[in-house]
């Protein structure tokens, strides 16, 4: 029982971190970034290169990963997304193509062999038959800190408020002097950084492979779709719904079925309440 609780919480925290950047981009720009999983993957590989190839400290490794993610977010937005912004489907298709290109690029640089990542926080938490790696607990704590910070950022800071304004009413925001392109740029940078951070933990949780971007993309899609595309709080709640659902399925039903229920949930929600359980499209 405690096991389920802790594992569920930890997994949910990770999922929330995976999904939040995806949510932000939709909320501000009304487009889906299907290269989101690639942002995570880049974060993972950047960290791996810094820490496990060049022997830089873990903290610096994380910082490098986050910067790499943010830079790639900016690049994706300026080179690709900006010219297609008026057509969401074109953005989705082109970011999907981008994802496959990046996957190929990773194979060129790192080969397709999986790389295993050392845990960022080594050790295992043991308590009355409960086993959870420190690493995933760290991911959970970090994701809480980051997400808490994000909520404060969106509500309290000037940039955050401007983002929120654009997400609620783009035209109105433009009239009041906010440049929506700069807001989108900021969002892609933040989203890229957050995704890369999530990617570092996701990679230590699973493995570093060129195909690893698919799983987090599917998670982000699931969380965001069920929560209501664009709602940060909705995403948080649903990340926990899905995290716990998967943990319960894994421990009590059958490990293989964990993804099945998630997908069934996605389909049912999209068909019955397309706007998601929390039905908002603003931050």
């Amino acid at each position: 029982m405690t096991n389920i609780l802790i594992q569920g919480l930890a997994l949910s925290g990770l999922y929330a971190l995976v999904a939040v950047g995806f949510t932000m981009i939709f909320s501000v720009g009304r487009v889906l970034n299907l290269a989101h999983g690639v942002f995570l993957m880049l974060g993972g590989y950047a960290y791996y290169t810094a820490v496990q190839v060049f022997g830089i400290s873990k903290g610096a490794g994380i910082a490098i990963a986050v910067l790499a993610g943010a830079a790639f977010g900016i690049l994706t937005y300026t080179v690709l997304v900006r010219r297609l912004e008026h057509n969401p489907i074109a953005v989705e298709i082109s970011t999907l193509i981008l994802a496959v290109v990046m996957q190929a690029l990773i194979v060129v640089v790192y080969t397709s062999a999986p790389k295993s990542m050392w845990p960022i926080v080594p050790g295992v938490f043991r308590h009355e038959g409960v086993f959870v790696s420190h690493n995933i607990l760290a991911a959970m704590v970090l994701s809480w800190i980051v997400l808490g910070g994000l909520v404060v950022f969106v509500r309290r800071t000037r940039l955050g408020r401007a983002l929120r304004a654009v997400s609620m009413d783009r035209k109105g925001a433009v009239i009041s002097g906010i440049d929506p392109h700069r807001m989108s740029l900021a969002t892609w940078a933040i989203s890229g950084g957050l995704a890369a951070l999530a990617g570092v933990f996701f990679a230590t949780y699973t493995q570093l492979t060129p195909g690893m971007w698919v799983a987090p993309l599917i998670i982000a899609v699931a969380v965001v779709v069920v929560g209501g595309i664009g709602s940060i709080v909705g995403s948080l709640v649903v990340a926990h719904l899905i995290g716990f659902m998967e943990t319960v399925t894994t421990t009590l039903v059958a490990a293989e079925l964990r993804g099945v229920f998630t997908m069934v949930l996605v389909i049912v929600v999209l068909v019955i309440v397309p706007k998601g359980l929390f039905g908002r499209e603003e931050l």
Partner: protein, 319 residues
Amino acid sequence: MPLARPLLGWLAFAVVMCLVPVFVSTGTVRILVFANFLAIFAMSWDVISGRTGYISFGHPFLIGIAGYTTAMLTYHLDTPLWLSIPAGVFATLVGGTLFLLPALRIRGTYFALVTLAFMELMYQLTQVIAPKVTGGTRGLSGIPTIVSGAIPNYYLTFGLVFAIGLGLWFVLRTRIGAALAALRMDEGAVAASGLSTIRLKLFAFMTSAAVAGIGGAFYVHYLGSIAPRGLFDINFLFTILVAALLGGSSTVAGPILGAYFLTFLLEYLRPYLPGPERYVIYGMIALVVYVLEPRGLHAILRTGARRLAPLLARRRIAP
């Protein structure tokens, strides 16, 4: 509408493609077999997504239903192919209705995501539900093939491409094609024109599913095996989607063109880039073409021809 010229085009296409095996190596013919399958899948994708604007991110789901149905029937029950392949296509039609259900309520991004979820669900289900029947993660192999050897398979698959392409072309050049295009532009205005949008969607989805089913069933009986990995896969989806978009969506020739172009691009890059770099270049080309001309090669060739025609004509007059 004048029929003669396009029909001549189809004829020329058939003649050229029938002669190809005479001039190229067996290796190339084998590659062409894959191009033929890709052309079928891309044509199928385009009927839903290019024509009506309901972007399918889950097309491998439809292809896989037919593939698995016929694979399981022949593998476990020794069902003859003439029965199992139609059964597979029929199962895909049922799968197509599953696609239609969300399409009654949602479109755009939301629809695309449901289809993605369908594909992902199928990926999971084939591995965990009754793995004895589906072969689980490893899939099924030793499935009977229809013909053997590169050249017979080439003619078989090209026959399919040609029959499906010509059939679709004949149907979609009628008013139904315009009705589907209208559906893509403004569904509400279509209903306000007195047309049942549900019926139009049903038609598009069933046609697309039938083509996907035929392609999927024959594909499995060409490969002789089927497995969830590589089939219910975003990379496979990517190839289908890019073939259709790169060639030119909302046309019949476009997806076929795109499929051959994509396959050959990959092959022609091989001598220069033997390693995995090839895939980067190939993806980049797809991306650049898509961003610069979302209507694809078909449109590029068309505009090119239109610009060239007067030049050539002038030359002929004054040599």
